[in-house]
Symmetry: D3
Subunit: 309 residues, 6 copies
């Protein structure tokens, strides 16, 4: 792709007012575990000899999905936006459970999290997915710091339902640690584990945590990077993606079932956030290269925007 000078100037003239508007503002980005799922956990033990003979270096690949995402976050940070990354890791947790011979149990459709499952989730989220994102950002030049809600006790959680075990709800978010990291020019990357006052950890839905953090930080934007093109008014019609919707409108769609499945917690987090101090919330298609950059810095409409009128 080659552009002439006038076309380039035009993009810059379009983008810079957005830069000015968003500089110094917090943008919370929920990055889903699905996007990371394909390649990150080694599926099979490699023979030790292979490692010895020619270690196949796990360098972050700059042209993969994570690479594009990390590049966008780093570029936003470079122009003064303050991104906070929140991630899940469902597929990766399931993978390790399987390898450890752990049989999943369910209660009313939700996964029961016993003590061992919690340990596995914590190891995968904090010790694997979080690390991969931190590294990808560091390689792109944005100094990232991983943390979970246990660090400095910043997410206080409580048990959701005894039948679910260590599945938690957010009780409160103390934004101090995240604010300090942002002030020092760092990019916080948050794994969604919280703890209660007694030190008991809980696994919490990442969409919900992303919303709660955005509210605690009075973020400018809350962005969900997903593998769909946006919120549809008709779940079966791909052409029904909405460009913009209000919190009320979104909740109506949930109530009528037009929005369902995995989109429900995202929709609820969007609606709650824009009613509690977040300027706008977005459901974007993370599969579009640089969708984050385009959403923030151009007039392009990518996915669905939720606002409080």
């Amino acid at each position: 792709m080659s552009l002439d000078a006038a076309a380039k100037a035009g993009v810059l003239v379009e983008a810079i007012p957005y830069v000015r508007r968003f500089a110094g503002r917090v943008v919370v980005v929920k990055y889903g575990g699905n996007a990371l799922a394909a390649s990150t956990l080694p599926a099979e033990p490699e023979p030790a000899s292979a490692a010895t003979a020619s270690p196949a270096r796990r360098v972050v690949e700059s042209d993969g999905v994570l690479g594009h995402f990390a590049e966008d976050v780093a570029l936003l940070r470079a122009v003064g936006v303050l991104p906070v990354v929140v991630h899940g890791g469902g597929p990766q947790i399931g993978d390790l459970m399987t390898r450890l011979g752990k049989t999943p149990a369910f209660h009313e459709g939700l996964r029961v999290t016993d003590a061992e499952t919690l340990d596995i989730a914590r190891m995968v989220l904090v010790g694997k997915v979080n690390r991969d994102i931190v590294t990808a950002l560091n390689v792109c030049g944005a100094l990232a710091v991983g943390c979970s809600g246990e660090d400095a006790g910043f997410i206080t959680a409580a048990e959701r339902d005894p039948a679910l075990g260590y599945v938690g709800d957010v009780v409160s978010v103390d934004p101090t640690l995240i604010e300090h990291l942002l002030q020092e020019g760092l990019v916080p990357v948050v794994a969604t584990i919280g703890a209660d006052a007694a030190g008991q950890a809980y696994n919490i839905n990442a969409d919900t945590v992303a919303g709660a953090i955005a509210e605690a930080l009075s973020a400018e934007k809350l962005v969900f990077l997903t593998d769909v093109t946006g919120v549809r008014s008709d779940r079966d019609d791909p052409t029904s993606v909405l460009q913009s919707i209000t919190a009320d409108g979104l909740e109506d769609l949930v109530a009528t079932g037009a929005v369902g499945d995995g989109m429900v917690p995202k929709a609820r987090a969007c609606a709650h956030a824009v009613r509690h101090g977040v300027r706008s919330a977005h459901v974007l298609d993370g599969r579009v290269p640089h969708s984050l950059l385009l959403e923030l810095l151009t007039d392009e409409g990518i996915g669905t925007m939720v606002v409080e009128p």
Copy 2:
């Protein structure tokens, strides 16, 4: 144990000058994985039904070894000392490898770390051991923040030996992140993973990392909490524990083999640290309750002190 008022006053009169001396000074404490090994990783999958019926809460026990350690660190922080905790986790890594059916490989007596082993080590260190220590400190009232050398790229590492795979040496430590956390009243807890500029992670010996961090922070003290009573001049004679030794003297003991096995990296880290700006280094018996508190705030001699004359 009940003391009369005069005896209590005597302890305080003895302790307070130490408080004054160490307030605002950094003390790097290496806390070994052995001390944590017994109970922390659930050995057996619990039946899901048990979790559902009566979740056996994994609350940090305040009277265990980790509980005593966390209490000491929190108390030192409360009187203005700036503790930094560095930890390993060898036994816990081995445990998960076994459960995943991973066969260890060795090269000249050292474990070969292929890509999967690195992933396992990272999950255990960052996602399990580090979390347990952070939680224990939070419960004791010291706000702790876990991190690894990948966070903000603060430990740059390089491959030690191609035959060992992803085993790293410390190239440099950038103390900025740790210093910021200390300034904000937080207790940094460091898992000893580093990365190179391309984002490749390495597992690094925790004793070495503790020493390198102490040097980068110009720490007042570097303390190794071990399961021995100190450095012996005769490895077979428990009564030969030295109260004090110089860096030269310590290296002589390594050279003659009087100090051997797991004590060697500790001894080398001690000797290097006191020659590079750390005031003193200590090998303490972590099994003695409150050994850390006694070493810093009383006239008691606990273990061995290394100084540069």
Copy 3:
């Protein structure tokens, strides 16, 4: 007295939470003139020849009552408590009056303070007692600064009763000077002379001044170091010392005469202070070595605590 390590650790584990709680908090300590009376003013002129031949150095004795008091104040300062010392000097004033051939006059039981008596009081309080306390603190390593209410005009006083001459009441306290000294790490030592806008000085009851300063500084504690074991519910029964009492309860004891004589102004100051922003007030036995340290940093009950429920 020798303690084993566990006992020492126990004292520290008990004390440090108090250190954390009181660090940065102001503690106003009234130190009575009686405690100083015995040795401080030279009773007899020494022959000049003796001074010339062998000057008997007036070095502060570290094992006397003043020495113990100064050591406690210095240790509290070392752990971050902000002590302010307020002192009287009645016996010393009487002594100099006698030597100058001055006959005391009384009005309704209170000493009439004519201009010369005021000059004598000022010289003794500011130029003698205050100096001795400042020196004792300096020798213990706490940099002390003596002042009276005339300095920076920080205590504004007014005549109490024309028949009493230059005996004053506190009109207002401007805490700025004391706060500045505290911020700079110094220990203020206050002689209880105030002045009015015209520059007229007044001698003021030291218990009252101590209370007024504690209120103006919103002190954590107001402590009276006395030569009794505490407030008694029955003035004739030494076993009736109260561990704790409310402001109302204390005023009842004054009203019924159970508390009398020299304890009255202390009791009133305690009751007024806890009703005006001071967390607690204490009447301690200054004759118990390190009573100040024990009261602040241990669970020991020393004397009587006054609180507002």
Copy 4:
């Protein structure tokens, strides 16, 4: 005295450049005890009845010598000059000694200071003269704070000669306390008592202390307010007062005896000061009303100026 507007404007046009030059600069003023001697210590005990009936209020008289001096200091402070007052009190000390029946002893012409004499000197200087000056300044609107060299240990002293007892020399001056008071807009008033590390106090010559403080503060000016018209080249010829002289020239006058008696320590302090960082030193006639103001803020030549060429 009534001036027309043009004449007034002329004075202001002359004065303001001096204000600009000296604003923020330290001026150390030695104020002699002689000036205070006449009225300040009540010569005779008043009958108590008189005090009761009609207390003859000791309000600072604004038209006396001390009043004029205090007004000048307050005015200089008001235009941003930073005055530090250092005072002696010889006559007042002698007076109290006499009243206490103390017989003076001398050694080689200097007063022997035994322990009781030291106590008397300290009481008079710190508790009487210092207080009177502080009060006079407060009444003029300059917030003054009295201190002696014992406060915050700011003057370290040592014994001059065993035969003289507690007569001290200045070992060092730590200007921190004085600098803090100046920064807070206060006027320090210094009584010339110092102490050694063991807490032993010494009486020190006030001229010497004034010079040492001026040097420690790198003062703009060191001013001696005396009862003579300046330094004379011929001690018997009142018309030989010098307008200006160098440090060398001044020391020559001392060597030849042209300058003698009480002027010698002043002359030495002036010469030493201008050789150690003080811009100029002055011997002024304190009996001339507002001599301090005229010297600093007009072209008038008052007394003698000492400079280092």
Copy 5:
């Protein structure tokens, strides 16, 4: 004129309390174009040869009217007063219009300002009169910075009457730029051009601007330097100059016509200012040398003071 020392001291004793009172306070001084009119714009083109042969240097003359004014402003700045100069330039604008062959047009007695007239006014005010005042202040040692209301958009203006063209009213004053300049020790000199949001400039009455700036800065004083002796209660009686008047009283004089012509906008600005946060407003005779200095720093009554009772 020669004064004795006592007379000089008297002036200083009178002046310094004013210095203390006004230090750090803002004084807005309107300096009229009439005072500058005589000499500042070269009346006739000089032959180029003259310039080449002997350039008659236009150095600011220190004994002219502008020189005296600049000296006063610089002296006030030197004692900590914060002067802001606002100026007009009517005669100078008229002069350049004449030379450019521009015929004045009037509407209801006011000059119609077409685009070219505005350009001329802007060039003369910003590029000529403002520069001359800045230079005069710089020569007197006060660093001056010229600006107009266009700079940093600090004066927002709007069209007064379409029939008048580019004659503006003050809509709002943003004092930020002026405050920054004052904080940096500079003297702002303001030309009274404002602009609207679209960038259209307007010429605004300088008296009105001076009042609006004084209000926006919550100035201590607003001073009009004029060529009359003050506000008269009878416009035809030079002996009827008022020393003091209230805002109401002044508006009555305007209403009755006692105050007329060019004094009206000044009177209105005075009355409005003292009702909107300015402590006092003054109409002084700028022809009296140092009238500004005398008004601020002496008891002399110069001209008329307007206060809000």
Copy 6:
């Protein structure tokens, strides 16, 4: 021009690293008077009636050359670059001289500047051209502040040649005022008048002033916006424009005459600047829309870059 999303993202990915690199860096831009010449000074007096009837508003036109330039400067400021604008105004000065009937005189090819010419230059530069640029920037959202070297005396100048009259050379630049304005987020716009210590103003070549300011500010870049496409190696060959050249190479071109006429002072300023702390200097074609934006934020090569190897 319409771009697809991928092309837009590509421009942003290209631009943001430049934004990061230049944020907080100073870029001095010389904007020539030629670019402004056409429309800014009204050529003919408009009839007053026209102004009255329908004032043809002189709003800055956003699509003119000045509009594009102002937009670029405002956009650069919005992304954190610190632009400083320096301008000339030769054509506008000549225009006003002509209208005032002033006959130009020359000496060795340079214009003789007598006192009246200086007045005219000052009025045009400071009161006309500077105002127009300030307004254009304000309209684009960058708060601009105009100044000349007389403000705060920031450019000290001296006479170049008596035969030239008031034509000056730069003696020194004090960057304090400009730095303060930059710190406060303002865009300084500098008219190139300087003054000497006596207050005499001089007109100075704007290219030279731009270079001197860039050096005093240790600017990242010095940019000349001209009406040519760059520096040519052959002045007669438009295709010989150089993309990059060293200071030595550029001076060689001046020496050989390849660079001549109006490009000479620009070339000299470029060469001097890159040898005195300015990172690079540029000669750009100001006629290309957004040339400033393209040069700083894209890989496009616009004009000639001068660097010191």
